[in-house]
Symmetry: C2
């Protein structure tokens, strides 16, 4: 499908995508870009990359597929730095968790230039870095493609085919709708888990170290709070409206529970737990 | 150590305790009690119980160790129903997640009667029922013993030895302190996870079924929301004060995050996430 694929950001997602594309014969070579040479060297050594570059001026001119797998706030600025050397037919895409701002910025930046189509594979792990990459990370996972009015139909079709071939269930969605969905299913839980850890840390019970009393329940509930802070800061700010809406709904729900406890309302409390149980059972 | 151990409530915890006690030779026989005969029959078939009974009038008179592994609200009423047939030297204990109310009720109920010492093993699983029971469930897990002024030192010592022998790290704590600790490390996360699931269910994005878009992050964060509603209703009401305090601190933390997002305060937001990451790393 492609001759030269450039992956900017060789972490869990970027690295897995490179491995998957190579394994399925979708690319002839994969070239990595990043700020951290140690990561890129590691990516080359473990077979993710054929080679890598560290400066925009070394962007390979024969690139026909550029994937931005960096933190979301770096997507547009990085593309701008590659622009002078970008072939006008090079397909550009990303894997960012926020799409509205990203696709708007990219459409504005690229105008009549190379085709851009946004994408977001819903796949993850609590591990990061190239060593966590796996060729099968996207198998049977959803990948949401968010074309805009500006997106060339041929580019959309090609990107869909690429993701289908690495095993994903591809779905097209408006970028704004994507952000509202992800605001609830991904960004809200991240804030909720982080706030839970901070509540533990801010609570004093004598001189006990509460961290020592956490069981598997607390650990599972807060596992995602170990994500990279700068990455989640960006996601929250770039998806501001949906995140705030999610936090408002969530705060109302917390207050609903508190009110039942305050009023000693057993049936009301049980109904809220029942409701959560019924919905949770549907999430597999 | 004991001749006849009665386990009231043959679920994950009660069943595991029976298996552990048998395997380590701490009891001669284990007799089960419960409301659901199917569960008890199953417990007998898979080697957890030697036999079982369904009516308080059939409580075995030679019982020298009674463990109440029922939902917390049933502990005192059930003990009351066994009382006429309880030997005055029978050691009584429980495994409930709330201790303040339980030990106060039991002390009042038993007065100069058989010795009671409360206990709470911090061990769990997302599975329930006798089939989930495992003899090694308590190995290297914390078990908190909550004696009161009324507790006989010999009974406390015997219970500590029993728990140590099934592999637990035994710790003594005031019942009120226990409840404040568990309110934060266990009861609060349960409400937080349930409220998160309900926020998902109450959010509408077009006609999309948001449950279909949940990745591993949402799943992990809400795993404990699949607990038994009537059990968690009781825990929240019996540990009302600590749960309300935890919810207040948590709501403040959620509002802190929301305020940073609202003000577009990147550094503030990153600091909150950093803080959570640092604490989360200490919880293993």
């Amino acid at each position: 499908m492609f001759r030269t694929m450039v992956i900017a950001g060789v972490g869990l997602i970027g690295g897995s995508l490179a491995l998957a594309a190579r394994e399925r014969g979708l690319v002839e070579r994969v070239v990595g870009y990043g700020r951290n040479e140690t990561t890129l060297r590691r990516g080359k050594r473990i077979g993710i990359l054929d080679r890598y570059f560290l400066h925009a001026r070394d962007f390979p001119e024969d690139t026909d597929f550029l994937v931005l797998a960096t933190p979301v706030s770096a997507i547009a600025p990085l593309t701008r730095s590659f622009l002078p050397r970008l072939d006008r037919n090079c397909l550009i895409s990303d894997v960012g968790s926020v799409k509205g701002r990203v696709v708007a910025d990219m459409d504005r930046l690229l105008k009549a230039g190379p085709p851009f189509v946004g994408a977001h594979p819903i796949a993850g792990s609590d591990q990061w870095g190239p060593d966590a990459a796996r060729a099968d990370l996207f198998v049977r996972r959803r990948c949401i493609i968010t074309p805009t009015a500006k997106s060339a139909p041929a580019a959309v079709k090609k990107l869909r085919t690429f993701w289908r071939r690495v095993g994903a269930k591809v779905e097209t969605m408006d970028a704004g709708v994507h952000d509202r969905v992800l605001g609830v299913v991904s960004h809200l839980p991240h804030v909720a888990a982080s706030a839970l850890v901070n509540a533990l840390e801010r609570t004093k019970v004598g001189s006990l170290d509460l961290a020592e009393y956490c069981g598997s329940g607390f650990r599972d509930t807060t596992r995602i709070a170990a994500g990279r802070p700068e990455l989640w800061r960006d996601i929250c700010l770039l998806n501001r409206e949906a995140v705030l809406k999610g936090l408002r709904e969530y705060a109302r729900g917390i207050e609903r529970f508190a009110e039942y406890v305050r009023r000693n309302d057993g049936p009301g409390l049980e109904r809220e737990f029942e409701r959560a149980l019924a919905t949770r059972k549907r999430i597999t």
